[in-house]
């Protein structure tokens, strides 16, 4: 009851127009929904550019930008290195304000600039949702779908010469062999993991209270074996719940925060021309009306040009078609003609199909993205929902095939390059090593 009354109070005051209390609640909610969010007071101090707020904000930005996997490795970074990291990542993301780059890395001042940076990140996209998804407590076994992207670019990387002089070829062969063994081991351990997972799923068949699932996951089995683990899971779930609630609350009062951020921006001394922006989705209130008007004008012209081009294209197609039909009309319509027509039709169909497939692949997949719970179901059983395994395998196969094609192409290029290099040395015979 108390909570509801407080919430209603908040709504009332929000309607009254950004009362100080609501702002405080908004910031507090935001802070609670962030991992290791700072004290709300830090935000207030940062508005007035108080130096003591800077270290906490550097740390917050670092936590937001450092990927979870490297957390352990980067946790040991000193504040200076963390700040450099943050600057580098923001530069990569296209952060537009040059003032950030000039901030000292010891955290001695610049808290307002950091607050602006933080709000820019927040405005960029679904930051909060992403963070919440990252730290979500997983009870089921996850199957990673289609996470692998084609990373390789079809082209040789620039040849890098070592400053220390030429490298012994045997060293390269050694390292290559090492990679091959590591690859084999990786496959082995993946197979082992799958075999064990399958065992758990088979042995716990019928244990799950949810009939759709039927069996337990690794985490659930672990909890059965170790009751202490249940308390830990419970705590983790409670924490996640609290953060989710805070995030919901934050959504309600978000406008108040942005109004307040406007005043923060207003408190900044005017800057020189900003660096060109990439990738930024500018929140509307930051964009001057003048700029908006020019943008609209540009859009208008572009649309008109597009329309004109389209009409031109239509005319062109029409005249071509007429010319072609006239040409064809002159030919006899014998059996050869129809055979030729059929093959043409087939070719076109095939190409169309190939195009459609590659388009589908590029759009990667009609499958839902994100984590999925791995559940063992008998083939053909009714009511099977979710991700069809066959589909995932097909997708992975096609990715494998395209990666292999890239590999082949790269190897071909390497061999050509080698052959060319060998050609420049007279009297040298090049024999490929047996298995490399």
């Amino acid at each position: 009851m108390g909570r509801r009354r407080r919430r209603m109070d908040k709504e009332a005051s929000a309607r009254a127009g950004a009362g100080a209390r609501t702002l405080l609640d908004a910031i507090a909610a935001l802070s609670r929904s962030l991992p290791a969010g700072p004290n709300p007071e830090i935000f207030r101090r940062a508005k007035f550019d108080r130096p003591e707020a800077a270290p906490a904000l550097w740390q917050l930005l670092f936590r937001l930008l450092a990927p979870l996997q490297v957390d352990r490795a980067t946790a040991s970074l000193g504040p200076g290195a963390q700040a450099r990291w943050v600057k580098a990542v923001l530069c990569y993301l296209g952060y537009p304000r040059p003032a950030l780059a000039q901030l000292p890395e010891d955290g001695s001042h610049g808290s307002r600039e950091l607050l602006l940076t933080f709000s820019w990140l927040l405005a960029q996209g679904p930051l909060l949702e992403w963070l919440l998804a990252q730290t979500c407590v997983q009870l089921g076994d996850q199957v990673p779908t289609v996470e692998c992207e084609v990373l390789t670019s079809p082209g040789l990387a620039a040849i890098q010469m070592d400053a220390e002089g030429p490298v012994d070829l045997r060293r390269l062969q050694w390292l290559m062999g090492k990679l091959r063994f590591q690859w084999q081991r990786l496959i082995c351990s993946q197979q082992e993991q799958c075999a064990l997972l399958s065992k758990i799923h088979t042995y716990t068949h019928g244990c799950h209270s949810d009939r759709n699932l039927g069996h337990l996951s690794v985490t659930e089995t672990e909890m059965l074996r170790d009751p202490e683990g249940i308390h830990q899971q419970l705590r983790a779930l409670e924490q996640e719940n609290a953060r989710l609630e805070a995030a919901l609350e934050w959504r309600r009062y978000e406008p108040v925060f942005w109004q307040w951020m406007d005043t923060v921006l207003g408190a900044c001394p005017p800057e020189g021309p900003a660096a060109p922006m990439f990738r930024s989705r500018i929140p509307e209130h930051e964009c001057g009306k003048l700029e908006l008007a020019t943008l609209q004008e540009e859009l208008q012209t572009l649309q008109e040009e597009l329309q004109a081009l389209r009409e031109l294209l239509c005319e062109e197609v029409l005249s071509r078609r007429q010319a072609w039909e006239a040409q064809v009309g002159g030919l006899g319509r014998g059996p050869e003609w129809s055979a030729a027509r059929q093959t043409l039709q087939q070719n076109v169909d095939q190409e169309l199909l190939a195009l459609q497939q590659s388009w589908k692949q590029d759009r990667s997949p009609s499958l839902p993205q994100g984590p999925h719970r791995l559940v063992k179901i008998k083939a053909g059983s009714a009511g099977a929902k979710g991700l069809p395994v066959a589909e995932v395998i097909r997708l992975l196969r096609s990715q494998e095939a395209s990666l292999e094609a890239v590999l082949c192409k790269l190897q071909g290029q390497c061999q050509q390059e080698l052959a060319r290099l060998v050609g420049t040395v007279p009297g040298l015979i090049w024999i490929l090593p047996p298995r490399c």
Partner: protein, 452 residues
Amino acid sequence: MSIVTVQLGQCGNQIGFEVFDVLFNDSQCSQGFCSKRENEAYQTSCKERFFREENGVPIARAVLVDMEPKVINQVLSKAAQPGRWKYSPHACFCQKQGSGNNWAYGYSVHGPKHEESIMNLIQKEVEKCDSLSGFFIIMSIAGGTGSGLGAFLTQRLQDHYSNALKMNQIIWPYGTGEVIVQNYNSILTLSHLYRSSDALLVQENDAVHKICARLMKIKQISFRDINQVLAHQLGSVFQPTYSAEGAFHYRTNPLGDLMEHLVPHPEFKMLGVRNIPQMSENSLAYSTFTWAGLLKHLRQMLISDAKMDEGIDWQVRPPLPRLPPLGKTSLNREQRFNTSLANLVILRGKDVQSANLGGFEDPALYTSWLGPANAFSVWKTPRAFNRYERSAALVSNSQAFVKPLDAVVGKAWNMFASKAYIHQYTKFGVEEEDFLDSFTLLEQVVASYCNL
């Protein structure tokens, strides 16, 4: 992860039995000089790797193959004694007629003829593993069945299980062997294995014989004595050791780790084992060792290419760094120095964390193109092995086999030049061309090792 052992021929089956016996007895041994929990983790790891359980009895993950029933029956009955481990009765393949020390017969006749049945047995054993790390193929190189059929089967395993690792545990014949064609057989085996196996772990009969005589003080040395020493060496390498994660986490894939450390290069696949201390059970009770002492000796055994901790040449020193290329005068002395491509030291026993391995991290021990950071690694466990309070084993990929290999190739070439006994091979489809290919390949291997 599990390893499936394939025991081939008389030699492979006898040694295979001793290996499983050492592994089992050591893991059951209460004198581990460590805590109960430590001991249990060690036992579990060993069992998963080499044994499976059927009705509470440990069954060796092994397939036994021979063309004569005698030896297989012997080892089966030895393993059938109560209170021990056993072989699966369904994992044996034998015939009535051997190969008569003719490599070609084993490779070209027995191989294709029995391929399907043997591969089926192996397949069944593989299916009983949760995960397969690889194969351990025990065979001699100089005979007929073990070496000929072994070379054939290794190729088939490479075709069928390309993602599983293959280590051939091979027994180098006595220099003064009785089989007249042993050098032919050896070069054929080695060259075929070099193409299809990932690593050749070589143990020399001559060296082990000396160990039995001088260190174990055995008066009348039997094959059993020799095989027990061989098995002890293998056990000291493949029994569980800690992984990088630290205490109680035992390495899950030792075969993979070992190969990644030692044999990634396709031209350098020959591995040798040295271990210290090695002595009779009676003297063991009255001996104590320090890590510093053991490692000092082991290092000198490595660089002077001594097979045992006795009669080591202490004069051999690594070449001094940054000296101009050696002149003719010093060449002879320097030749005695055994350059390593890569080394793996395995330490087992008390206070193992205190052992200082600085001596093995000296760049002078290695080639110019692979420094100690890449070429040296160490495995440890505080669990003692086979009642030795402290023991060390060294697996190395070094120049040590240049001399014996060169000698075998030389002797075989001399016979081949006079076309002696070639018809025994051509009769079964192994042509002169195959011999020439083998010579070429092995001479290349010798040259590669010489130019390290």
